[in-house]
Amino acid sequence: MGIRTCARENAAFAELLKHYEDPSIHLRECRAAGVRVVGKIGYGVCDELILAAGMESAAVRPGGAGHPLADEYLEYAFTEKGKYLFDAVAGGDRDRCPELVAFSDSEDLANRLYYYLRELKRSEPGRPVPELTLVDWLFSRHMTYQGWNEKALRRFAGRLESWSGQPVTDEALTEAIALYGRQYRAVSAILSQRTAKAPRLTGCEALVVLGAKDCMDKRRYAELVEKLALDVPSWPEAGGVKLFFSGSVQQDLGVYEPVEAAGFVICGEDHDAGTRAFERPIRTDLEPYAALVDSYMLRSPSAAKGLVKERTQALTESVEHTGAACVLFYNDAYDEAASWDHPSQRAALTAQGIPYAECVKRAYPPVTDGGFRETLQLLKNRAGGEYHG
């Protein structure tokens, strides 16, 4: 499994994959064209507002050789991914992180990174820390916070205007939302092939399709996924035991690849780099800011912001929707919030007769050692499949 030949040989997918594997291409292209780019950390930084301000967006991703700055400035309780992100932003490498960065407090990690980087910029102005801002989302599902969130997005729009020197007009925002609508329809069509009884998309392929949006020009992305939506139905069936992945954000294939190599096909996930971004369309019948709040705030509950009851219900519904035969809980060390969900979720899965395995306190970069492979084998045995690892 993983990324198959049919995908690699598809021109649209190959272009998506190229950008997914090397996000610096997008940053360099934008720089050459004089287009300002807003780096994104967290999952509530609205592309639509950034586009409406005449800029491009790019996810800042963990990676690199190490995180010496984080070792100096961050406490133990930060995840390894968080530490890599800190160095990506504070290190001044513009091929990894642009000169403008927006955070969303969609999870504690992003919020705390914002605090620290803001303070680093203030207290040590000589460091090459980019311009920073935070979209202060509040994700409790009450009307009070919908109002707050609309105001937070308007503040963010104001900040974007100051960065780009261009007003965020309702017309431009409506146009950006329409572009998202194209992406949404095409990606939904592609993902329907993933959840079909005979899936024609692997988890790795899906992750590339979803993640490439944050690594390339958004108009080009729409064109590519529209083309791909026509091709995927003719791809061969992706065989394997259908597995639902629940846990830490995966912005590369480091975990999905070994899981699928073991004979699973990841048919869905609940982390922020997965299908959540395309769960809920942005309504075109609402005032644009209200529509953005509706889409971003009311997606399925994330591990960071959802309550246990909500998360348990969401998981069982997702397993049913995707037709998963088993669930893998996978959490990085210090990415702990989901651990409070697990006992309730395990009980619900047991009641459904769905086997699961739990991998917590995982290292990053991922260590897919014998213990991990053994866990996968046991899960596969319980799910009734043959082990391929």
Binding site: Y115, Y116, A337
Partner: protein, 431 residues
Amino acid sequence: MAETASKAVKKLKATAEASRYQKEWFKGLRARVEAGEPFVYANADAPMEIMRAMDIPFVINQWWAAICGAKQMTGKYYGLLRDAGYRDDLCSYCATALAESFDPDDRTAGPWGGLPSPTIALTRLTCDCQGKIFELFARRHGADLYTLENSVPRKLPLNWWELDQNDWEELYDPDRLDLAVEELRAFIRYLEVKTGRIFDINRLRDVMHRINEQEGWYTKTRDLIAQARPAPVTVVDTINAVMQAQWHRGTQWAADHARGLYEEVRALAEEPDRAPDPRREYRLMWLGRGLWHDFAFYQNFEEKYNARFVWSMYLAMGADAYIRNHIDADPLRALAARYIGMEDFLHCPPWNAQWFLKEAKTNGIDGVVYMVPENCMQAVEGSSFICRTLENAGVPVLKFRADPVDARKWNRENMTLLVERFIEQRVIGGK
């Protein structure tokens, strides 16, 4: 881990009185709950003044965890948590009461007869785990879960303690205050419906005035300790005396107790025949949460070095963070301006670092011992910035990892050696 090897020696009557009152009060609480009255279990940064004004009894999560830690119960509780399928190495400070809820013998073996089942579990969402922990706790007790959100400060004042008492509209982003007031109104409406009790804004005014009176005494006490040489008391007394009375803030008992604390400390400071240790006194600051399971640790360094922990945040917070003047015009907004800032000044740099520096200077601090929890994202607070701020000002800092309530990971002997080395090399050696 070694369980507590010895007990801390407390010398103030105010400390003993706080403990005595607390136990009596808790007996009364149990009786009220058993008689069918509502009872709220709340996180420490929640606006408890609303419950005070409505005469709804409440217990504070962190303070209860401190009691469980001091009673050496946490090892048992985290074991029960693990047996119930949860991890036992997460969020110990906030999850102690949840863990306790799995104890079938809580009524007979729990601290003070165990925690009665609350009607409502109330928390602010200040980290990704807090809401889930309170939700699970509420479920265990059949209680409602009520959550309040936490917005992020956009302003970065370097002197919040000079603004918060009178100029909170300048200190905080106004929309954050607006939101908090809206949340308070919704919470009050919920409490009225849930409990059948009516909220009276005039009672809230009275509560707020009594809190100002109480915290005013803490200001005087803090300032007195800052000036007195040698220090008349240490944190072993002040933490207990203040933390327990803060639980009761808004009552006349708490205000009177704070005055009694001040008068007792002043009497000690003015004792003409105080026989000060002929050696130089080294004044230490304790940064971080209280070391609830081993309070005697604080006194380990007095005999050998005459090094004494004279400062903790508990007294200083009362002095600098709680008073709100001019509350009559809009007591709800004044209350909002108290509780939304707690996360800001405790866990957001530079709010916290600059305050610690100011306190270190005014208290004549010779060295800082800084306990950073290792399994708590909420307490991720820019410790490196805090250390740099203090060190750059010439105040040496020892930073180490430990858990405030989980005694299983604590090694008194190793930690004593660590602090002794710090005192010898950086505090005494640096002079």
